[in-house]
């Protein structure tokens, strides 16, 4: 009896203390009332190992990687492993976020990159504006693709997410939430620019980035429509184009077609997912255009899973096809003196080498997610990746021995965590 009384007293005291701290520590519920700043540190990460059956190319999750599994080494930790840390500051109407992510880069290093860095002002409960860096809200979930814990599969489908020409924007964005009956809408518009270092001073710049993302939620159903465009500049293939422009009008024509100088890039997508809890289905299709060496394509995927306690078996299919020619006749060699013809031939091979990297590929996947704890998930996944039409697909570091249209089998194990 006495013990029970003491417990109640301490519970009441704890409640009072909590209520006191809460009312003094956050201004979220009391607009206009000065509030003490709240700092919050959180993070996420993935420890992954990937095996690929092909020794003639590397399987990877993104084209912006130095190596992957297959050619460089049969088992690779570089495909999915990453670590992210985020600092949030909450001052009520004003808040800020800073997120850095360490994952393998094009230069092979794990140098942390600033993924998010912005200040948000909540104008009304429904309207927020941000200034700073955001990850682009394109496709169904490009901005959260690096947080493995939030997705059912080991990684977002490489056909759709593996080669986004731009993935972040430094600028402004506004999100407006509204509803029509039971349907909840969130409309986000953004404008900005980006200037990212790839490696060794090679940069990828995009200016005049503008876009729109519209999300809809109704119970278990969610959908998103997104569109973004920008003006792209990068020095990829610069040496090739410098030589090409010495070949007269024909050379200029080819250089103008493929050089990534002031090229309009665009991405549009529509996706939907139904998730009542016991099962889920998600599907998405999108289109990317760059009017350059980077090509353009239409991609789609569909995936589904069943949730049985802590286990989630799932399966999916993804594909990407090129909307542009992946081969170019190049400079006409007829009538050129032999030394020039040899040089032109090399240039043509160079152009086609780039065009072969425009992915045409399909992948069947099956896997199992085990939610070992409320912040840890272990996943096993098998993929049958098939580059098509002579393309190397989303593979990198392809060797002369890579057989076109031959399936590559990939096995992955990943441990995702959030804290």
């Amino acid at each position: 009896m006495v013990q029970q009384h003491t417990q109640r007293l301490s519970a009441a005291f704890a409640t009072c203390a909590l209520a006191f701290l809460s009312s003094h520590a956050s201004g979220a519920d009391a607009p206009g009332e000065p509030a003490a700043p709240i700092w919050k540190l959180s993070g996420f990460g993935t420890l992954g190992a990937v095996y690929s059956s092909s020794r003639s190319a590397d399987f990877t999750a993104s084209v912006l990687r130095a190596h992957g599994a297959g050619h460089t080494r049969a088992w690779s930790p570089d495909v999915d492993s990453r670590l992210g840390a985020q600092l949030d500051l909450d001052l009520g109407a004003w808040s800020g976020v800073l997120q850095v992510v360490s994952e393998q880069r094009l230069d092979g290093s794990y140098t942390p990159q600033l993924e998010w860095a912005n200040v948000k002002y909540q104008l009304t409960p429904d309207l927020a504006v941000r200034a700073g860096r955001i990850a682009l809200p394109v496709f169904l979930g490009a901005e959260s693709r690096k947080v493995g814990y939030t997705i059912p599969w080991v990684r977002t489908p490489v056909e759709v997410y593996g080669s986004l020409p731009i993935s972040s924007s430094d600028g402004l964005d506004a999100t407006w939430r509204w509803s029509t009956g039971p349907v909840l809408h969130a409309t986000q518009v953004f404008a900005g620019r980006t200037n990212q270092d790839l490696h060794n001073g090679l940069r990828i710049k995009a200016e005049d980035i503008v876009g729109l993302s519209h999300s809809i939620e109704r119970g278990a159903v969610s959908a998103r429509l997104s569109a973004a465009s920008g003006r792209l500049n990068t020095g990829i293939g610069k040496e090739l184009f410098t030589i090409l422009r010495n070949f007269g009008p024909a050379g200029d024509l080819l250089a103008d077609r493929y050089e990534i100088r002031d090229k309009r890039v665009s991405m549009v997508s529509i996706g939907m997912s139904v998730d009542p809890g016991a099962w889920f289905v998600t599907a998405e299709c999108g289109r990317t255009r760059t009017d350059s060496l980077l090509g353009g394509g239409t991609s789609m995927y569909a995936g589904a899973g069943l949730r049985r306690g802590a286990l989630t078996p799932y399966a999916g299919y993804a594909q990407v096809r090129a909307d542009v020619a992946t081969h170019d006749a190049g400079l006409p060699l007829d009538g050129l003196p032999p030394p020039l013809a040899a040089a032109a031939g090399q240039i043509n091979a160079g152009i086609n080498g780039f065009l072969a990297t425009i992915p045409v590929q399909s992948t069947w996947s099956a896997g199992l997610r085990w939610d070992a704890a409320t912040n840890i998930a272990l996943k096993l996944q098998l993929d049958r990746v098939r580059p098509r039409q002579g393309s190397r697909g989303t593979l990198i570091n392809n060797q002369p021995g890579l057989r076109p249209d031959r399936a590559v089998h990939v096995g992955s194990v990943a441990l995702d965590f959030v804290f």
Binding site: A19, D126, S144, V147, Y149, E217, G219, G277, R307
Partner: protein
């Protein structure tokens, strides 16, 4: 002893007690509450889910709504989300991880037990919480009963 069991009223009382206790242990009925000072009198399950998942920040009448959660691992919390959204604690963690790491929002503030939620909600008409039906008192108003 015979007389005890042969008394129909006593038997009924014992049965009611046993069944009542069993029902309370199996799944205590949850109610969604707002402050008794709040003008909100009713809200539907979809609207409550939207507020607690960070998709909406207003009551149906347009007033600002701030969700208050029970603590992680509390049976009220697990039951509330399972009934309302079909989401397990792991799925909710995934949902909020997506919100947090894209800068879209932070999960609701937590209060300690039914008494903690009730006290916090009673003091602030913007707040909305959930407690066991038995914990209801005059300081808060039940606006939705969850099965």
């Amino acid at each position: 002893m015979r007389a005890f069991f042969h008394s129909p009223r006593r038997l009924a009382a014992i049965l009611a007690l046993v069944l009542g206790a069993a029902a309370a242990n199996a799944s205590a009925e949850l109610v969604v509450v707002v402050s008794s000072r709040s003008p909100v009198t009713a809200i539907n399950a979809d609207q409550v889910a939207a507020i607690f998942l960070g998709h909406a920040s207003r009551f149906p009448d347009g007033a600002q709504a701030v969700a208050i959660d029970q603590q992680l691992g509390a049976p009220q919390r697990d039951g509330f989300y399972r009934t309302l959204t079909g989401k397990s604690p792991a799925l909710l963690k995934a949902h909020w991880s997506k919100m947090v790491f894209t800068g879209r929002g932070q999960p609701p503030r937590e209060a300690n037990g039914d008494a903690g939620v009730r006290r916090l909600v009673a003091e602030n008409p913007a707040m909305i919480g959930y407690i066991e039906r038995d914990a209801l008192d005059a300081s808060v108003r039940a606006v939705l009963v969850l099965p």
